[in-house]
Subunit: 420 residues, 2 copies
């Protein structure tokens, strides 16, 4: 992408009420735009990052036999009344609306009910199970406060996977598979080192659920970690009685702030009971289907990456999700510089790299380097008259370290090594 | 995909009020599910088709320099009041809702206003233009009647591209480029032969807009076509005065029913004027940005394909958008048949084909063939004991014609020829 053609620009001014690091950096760099509090648009580079996050998650969901679907935002009360979640006093994040004939509708904040209802059409026998279905779909939540940038928004894409199993053992096995898939996802997203599988309250059906918590000093959650045993515990169950099960005491843990980037939960029969999702087992007996749910918000993941990967100059994208892998910065208006830059741009595009080329001729080196740091692509290649004379490029990693000079002929080998 | 694992099943029963061909076939085949009237979920095979349609459109939008973004459904009145489209009496398809503090919000039925407002942040000079931005985003429209299946729904993904140009000439040139991209899209979607670029009313800014109308006896629109000159005219401007501009009279046209699958429109300065989107030109003068809009609904396209590609047995998907290219149907429970089928399934998957394998052992040939016809993949390969003995497969095209027997060793060459 030629930066001169990109319609966004970096900016120094921000909405007054924007207090989170993620939204400040993403707004300044032109990755997102704020529609209203807690409601953000994704602009070209922001959309690219979001799309990469989504595709990594999708690959891992397909690998554990998830079948991709897309449910609807508009929901009727009939779907939610059987589980008593239609009433605003029972679920307090509904946006409600209505049809022209006055029929009430709501915008789904989650999808257990409609998917359970849907499965009643297809699941009758034990032979129809297990089933795993997931979606990337826009949720709406009428949050009272929305001050965390894209970490907690009123409208957001969520990946929600639901499992439908015959019995506890089948659920337990799939739950472990999903947990392992989540671990892979956060590794691939560049968050593996700082993301902890965290024991949390399990509700009525199982003792524990698991959260994926990414350490971050601005996180809303408090977790307690024991590095030696690689155990993390959410504050809500950080109690002597629980800890003793792991042979530990409170003194064995360190308190950390974290952002919850994913959550997996054994739902049991709560929804199949409420909505009557049953199957006939091998012995002809009717039983409730046993469910699990597995969520990740790609937008929140993006915000978490920004919160945890930045410096005073801007964002530092992990290579797996960077909007572009390489940022070519041309210095000066010199025709030779532009020609050599274009040659490199074409060469790298053809070699399969994703390249942003700062081909703008109305900005000096300082402004261009500042933009490049703010946008945060992993590798910056500077093309200048001086370096062209020496048949070399100046290369700098956004993650830090000194600039290096790479002979022109070696640039692809260098990038292969850095990025593949 | 092993059909035994696919959670959907075909069905013979339908909701009573489902009167359109597209929704009847898509519901029967398990491609979609109805949440409420005019609101449909996409199930695994339906989602695959939708995704393929989206990707074809995306490639063509990128090819004409579209920059992909994602705007928000939730909208505040402030964005829509300047153009007088917030009031329900002015735009009658709003779904309205509100924040907990009572602030009114609406669910965007279209996105001219928010995108125009967004562009004010980035466009100041003629050097910032032209800009082309598009999205695949969920629109909400409070339709009074919703009886056309997925052709006209209350919640749907729409691809909307908007162009922002300096002057009429730049708009005119891009408009022609977009028109050509649309022609390519419908060709690639398998609708090229029956889709007409149709002159329609242009509103206040230009004489004509253009609709892409696909001939279909169940279509809501009436168009008039002249095959010789390849001209199509929408009913709303089928008048002697207009026709004379083409050197034609009403007698030169044939009336046809059609479905509007796309629409391109020169907006002029309507929105830039209302929202104050201006730029400074080469001479330092402030001017309104000149806009165009270009829409396609992937769901409606899917419905149109079903309406125009079916027979009494089911859907006949064009190869470009079929959920799977090949449907392997194994006859009987014989172990050799299942082994040979699995070998073929693995072989074709490895060769890069998308394969649905009917590996179900509880159904006879009649039921399996009926399902295969209903689902409508382009090529059906039947694996049976008799054919295995002869080292051959029985192959049948969904589009029609007799079954053929292909030697096992030639199957990939056959598919390459049919599908690539």
């Amino acid at each position: 992408m030629r930066q001169s053609k990109l319609f966004t620009k970096t900016s120094k001014t921000l909405p007054k009420d924007e207090v989170s690091v993620n939204s400040q950096l993403l707004l300044k760099s032109g990755f997102i735009d704020k529609e209203i509090a807690g409601v953000y648009s994704f602009l070209p580079m922001g959309y690219r990052v979001l799309d990469k996050i989504i595709n990594i998650i999708r690959e891992e969901m397909n690998a554990i036999d998830g079948q991709e679907i897309m449910l609807t935002a508009l929901q009727s009360p009939q779907t939610w009344e059987p589980t008593d979640r239609w009433d605003d006093s029972k679920m307090d994040v509904w946006f409600k609306t209505e049809l022209k004939n006055g029929s009430k509708l709501g915008l789904a904040p989650t999808h257990e009910e409609p998917l359970t209802k849907l499965m009643k059409k297809f699941i009758t026998s034990y032979k129809d199970l297990p089933v795993y279905a997931y979606q990337f779909q826009t949720k709406f939540r009428n949050e009272t406060r929305a001050k965390s940038g894209i970490l907690r928004t009123r409208e957001f894409i969520m990946k929600d996977l639901y499992s439908f199993c015959r019995n506890q053992q089948e659920l337990d096995e799939y739950y472990e598979k999903a947990k392992a898939a989540y671990v892979r996802i956060f590794e691939r997203l560049g968050l593996g080192d700082i993301t902890y599988v965290t024991y949390a309250s399990g509700g009525t059906f199982s003792k524990f659920s698991h959260e994926f918590q990414t350490l971050c000093e601005y996180g809303e959650d408090l977790i307690y970690i024991n590095e030696e045993k690689k155990i993390a515990i959410n504050r809500e169950i950080f109690e002597d009685e629980i800890l003793s099960e792991f042979g530990l005491t409170k003194a064995d843990f360190v308190e950390k702030k974290a952002i919850e980037v994913g959550n997996i939960f054994k739902l049991g029969t709560k929804f199949s009971d409420g909505l009557g999702l049953q199957y006939v087992d091998e012995n002809g007996e009717r039983k409730n289907v046993i469910m699990g749910s597995y969520g990740i918000g790609p937008g929140r993941v993006m915000g978490t990456i920004v919160e945890t990967h930045n410096d005073k100059n801007g964002i530092i994208w992990p290579k797996e999700v960077a909007p572009y892998q390489v940022h070519i910065v041309s210095l000066g208006k010199d025709e030779v510089v532009m020609q050599e830059s274009e040659k490199l741009y074409n060469q790298l595009n053809q070699a399969g790299y994703e390249v942003l080329w700062d081909d703008r001729t109305n900005l000096g080196p300082g402004a261009k380097f500042a933009d490049s740091d703010l946008i945060g692509c992993p590798i910056r290649i500077t093309v200048s008259g001086k370096n062209i004379e020496k048949s070399q490029y100046e290369v700098k990693r956004r993650i830090g370290g000194d600039a290096e000079f790479i002979p022109q002929n070696d640039i692809e080998a260098f990038l292969d090594n850095e990025l593949k």
